[in-house]
Symmetry: C2
Subunit: 378 residues, 2 copies
């Protein structure tokens, strides 16, 4: 038995928007191999994507409901979705892992859109994709990344509700910091305590938890925890992607133990002011590069192009758009984004600060509970 996370009307609305843009782009079909798009259009949600063994395919025909072309092991769960047309094969297969089913399903399509651009992957063997392309002599595969990303960027009220709920759970756990984290505890123990608290507060999963803790900052922002004990003067940062019904939050918090050096406190306050400025500035019509610039101007470090200061989130920990100097996407109501400015504290030490928000008609609405204006000391 399967279950889908939204009423069928939600998926119908997503499909209708896809059909509109497909017609405008003269696409006969959209072809997906990736988890996020498959879940977005079908409701099919499983952690089984951790197994790389089998490819999974979804096709959206122009004007039609999505067609799932699925390994048999996923068929029972997919039958709980809102789709009618589910075609299966016994996978892994000795010679034909879904390719002949794809050839049949895509045979009539002249222009087939798929994800080929920025932020995309091909989640099927390249040799099988080449076999498919060679077999469809009358078809052209064209890049539909921008089209699909623009659909997914704007969240529905039901999606925003789920992201808001997981942001709230994670805010609750961060509020427990003084109980969860203490000097002498190893960083790995701090991570473990935080994950357990997130689950206890109601998170389904904590797929992403990274961070660091060093004197007056940290060396990077993507590390797993080490076994070093937390010491006075350490600044602990936990960047958290917890999920509820498969939707992510993505924000971090900083804490110092005992005391914090002036440089760390100053960096924290600069980052706070940068996010404060962005929260005031964010509104429909402003471009992502503009919003990036608002934060970069406060930080006033490293000139231009010092990185990415935020991004979309939802089904994935990070999604388009990017708050970066060259992303000219205009903000729209319903977009859920992070503000994530970072700066150098001293050579080899950085700090980051992150909040999650949704763009409303009249500006930004925070989804994460706002970080305090000064670096908290535990």
């Amino acid at each position: 038995m399967g279950l889908i996370d939204f009423p069928v009307a939600e998926y119908e609305a997503r499909l209708a928007r896809a059909h509109d843009t497909m017609a405008a782009s003269e696409l006969d079909a959209l072809f997906f191999t990736s988890e996020a798009e498959m879940r977005y259009f079908s409701g099919f949600r499983t952690l089984f994507w951790h197994s790389p063994t089998r490819p999974w395919f979804l096709i959206i025909p122009r004007g039609g409901k999505p067609i799932a072309i699925f390994p048999e092991i996923g068929a029972a769960l997919m039958r709980g979705s809102w789709l009618d047309d589910i075609r299966t094969w016994p996978s892994p297969h000795a010679t034909d892992d879904g390719v002949s089913l794809l050839l049949e399903a895509l045979g009539g399509a002249t222009r087939i859109g798929m994800l080929m651009g920025r932020e995309s992957s091909l989640r099927m063997p390249l040799l099988d994709f080449e076999r498919l392309r060679d077999g469809l002599t009358a078809s052209a595969f064209v890049d539909a990344s921008a089209l699909v990303q623009s659909l997914r960027m704007v969240k529905s009220p039901a999606e925003i509700e789920k992201i808001a709920a997981i942001c709230d759970i994670t805010s609750n756990s961060f509020d427990n910091a003084a109980r969860l984290f203490h000097q002498g505890q190893t960083l790995a123990e701090a991570f473990r305590a935080f994950k357990i608290d997130l689950l206890t507060q109601g998170a389904d999963d904590v797929p992403y938890l990274v961070g660091g803790a060093e004197q007056g900052g940290y060396g990077d922002v993507i590390s797993p925890p080490n076994q070093e004990p937390l010491r006075p003067g350490d600044v602990l940062m936990l960047d958290t992607g917890a999920t509820l019904d498969g939707y992510f939050c993505d924000f971090d918090r900083n804490f110092a133990f005992g005391h914090a050096c002036d440089a760390a406190r100053a960096a924290y306050e600069t980052l706070y002011r940068a996010t404060e400025a962005a929260l005031r500035a964010a509104r429909p019509g402003l471009t992502c590069s503009d919003l990036y610039r608002v934060m970069a101007d406060v930080i006033a470090q490293g000139g231009s192009d010092v990185g990415r200061f935020g991004h979309g989130l939802g089904l994935q920990l990070t999604e388009p758009p990017s708050l970066i100097s060259f992303d000219e996407t205009a903000l729209k109501p319903g977009m859920v984004i992070t503000l994530e400015p970072s700066m150098t504290v001293e050579a080899g030490k950085i700090m980051v600060h992150e909040e999650n928000l949704v763009i409303r008609e009249d500006g930004a609405e925070l989804l994460s509970r706002r970080a305090p204006p000064e670096l908290p000391i535990l």
Copy 2:
């Protein structure tokens, strides 16, 4: 600061084996875009792969140490690895997300091996890969899936130690079943309690936990939990991929509440006998298809080709080889595999049973604590 999970000698040994097979296959370079291979050869471990924004590349030159071609955000962590040659660019980039660095690094290679076959993905934008291929006019990209998979299949003693440790932790948590699971609890609550216990017992993460609970069996084996309360006669199955230092266990356990129907008890015992037969049969030289057949003969259901009855595991939840009718891989000492027979209990109801083991010179050594011979009743 970075950290790697093994002494440098471990990575040197992996590289030496890669160099040997590259020479035998006349490959000038291996080119990777995927997490598992990057971690295997470099030691670079992060959960940041959850963000699809940036591509990451690793090149193994014939006879040389791996070259990391990495977004700047990963450079600090990679510098803690054993690699010397780390080339970075500011990613995301407006026009060139690593492609020109790849062109430069791969320019002299005539035959470049990469993962194109079974179980592989291309984790970079297809358009960028085409740009790369078009730019390397004197190079051919050839499929090196079998070569790379054959290297990774055989685990070192240090790898086996990590897998054994996470199997032990998960066995401890399954031993707590009577305390963790009870009638009236929702399936989602049971999952949450189990994850918290796994973390408490010492797991770093629980990236994979799926299962089901229905009367006398379950409909599929890849579902997330629902909100239904556990009832008398339900058979609960939890399939668990917990991790330690990035290494997976992957096994399941079944429990009935109050009582179990005859069909479920009989299916459990058949599956137990199938794994028992496979544990006795598994030894170096036996092929995966032979080991599959040993289990299929006990189950004697559905004729041949009823699915996959096990697989490799390690850095990934599932890895080659497959215990399936057409996989002629011969077992070797050091291979870590699952036995995972499944069968139909009645229409729409199945059961599965799974153990983890390592192949030794003289046969199979269990890594999971053996399931009881009869379906446990809670």
